[in-house]
Symmetry: C2
Subunit: 161 residues, 2 copies
DNA sequence: CGCTAAAGTTCTTTTTCGGAACCCATCTTT
DNA sequence: AAAGATGGGTTCCGAAAAAGAACTTTAGCG
């Protein structure tokens, strides 16, 4: 499979990865969630090559995950901000952060903690069923064809991809 | 920043990405969650170059996300299975799947649906606070130093990375 | 003996990446 | 007015990684 075809795969994971599945993109987005908005600041904090950063910002903007907004005229300067689509990636961040906290920390514990302002506690995410509220576990899930499945998959009787 | 240094960054996101932050790894893991276990089957389903697959399986095995188990002797054949560490990546999958369903589907809807066997409903994940049960939103979170923060970060007064 | 299967490895050609230099339109300082 | 400084890029090069195809190894089968 070639990388540019990924967004047309009949799989939401593949399609998501066509946007965020590369080495730098999620690190750029981490900075966005930490309110970093300017080219220079991304570059300094990440140590990313400038043309790679330019490319990623453009791709994220084209994908509707970031939007470019002028913050001054003369000289015109623009900053990058998360759109609603981008903010919706927060659960992906949380899932990766929690997994890293649990499995990639040394014996001392995780380098950073997240506190939930609403209740005041240090927290991690629990992934619950939107319908019954129970925690979702891999072995409790089945996959089935959705409305957007390609005809070939429907004809094949719903072999999950 | 160089890619091999990523796992030593004081950031759980970066550390997680040092394992799963590449083009193919999460697609390989998708297949694992769909009970694919053998080299050939990964190759056929993914259309991945064999040496890239061999490399990813080795890295995932070295990282403790997969384990290699013989399923027959003479000739010896081995299959790859998710470890507990690997199964714990399920929330990452869910988050990416749900995001893709919402933002990357055509007008017809998502190509596949996930049903929760426990309650019988088609579902998506809600990311809730482990302490208070409310949904976690980006703007309700603050970051602070954890026990594993490097001394330099503590000295700098907790500048979040 | 020749054929097939599973799981890799090797080789060659494209892409992508990292690092550094350069560009350009405006302020700011001398 | 000339000489930086700033922000946001683009260009160029050599190095690293990926795609694609062929080759290898161990063993069973007819």
């Amino acid at each position: 499979m070639r990388w540019e075809e990924l967004d047309r795969e009949p799989c939401s994971l593949a399609r998501s990865l066509s946007i965020v599945g590369d080495r730098w993109t999620l690190l750029v987005l981490r900075e966005c969630f930490l309110r970093v908005r300017r080219f220079e600041e991304f570059e300094q904090r990440l140590g990313i090559a400038r043309h790679v950063l330019a490319d990623r910002l453009k791709k994220l903007t084209d994908a509707g995950v970031l939007r470019k907004e002028p913050y001054q005229e003369r000289p015109r300067r623009e900053e990058y901000r998360l759109t609603e689509k981008g903010l919706d990636l927060y659960p992906v961040m949380l899932a990766l952060l929690d997994w890293g906290d649990k499995w990639m920390s040394g014996p001392e514990g995780p380098p950073l903690l997240r506190r939930h302002k609403v209740c005041g506690h240090v927290t991690h995410a629990v992934h619950t069923c939107s319908e019954c509220g129970e925690e979702l576990k891999a072995r409790d899930m089945t996959v089935e064809l959705g409305p957007g499945a390609p005809a070939a998959m429907k004809a094949a009787g719903g072999k999950a991809e």
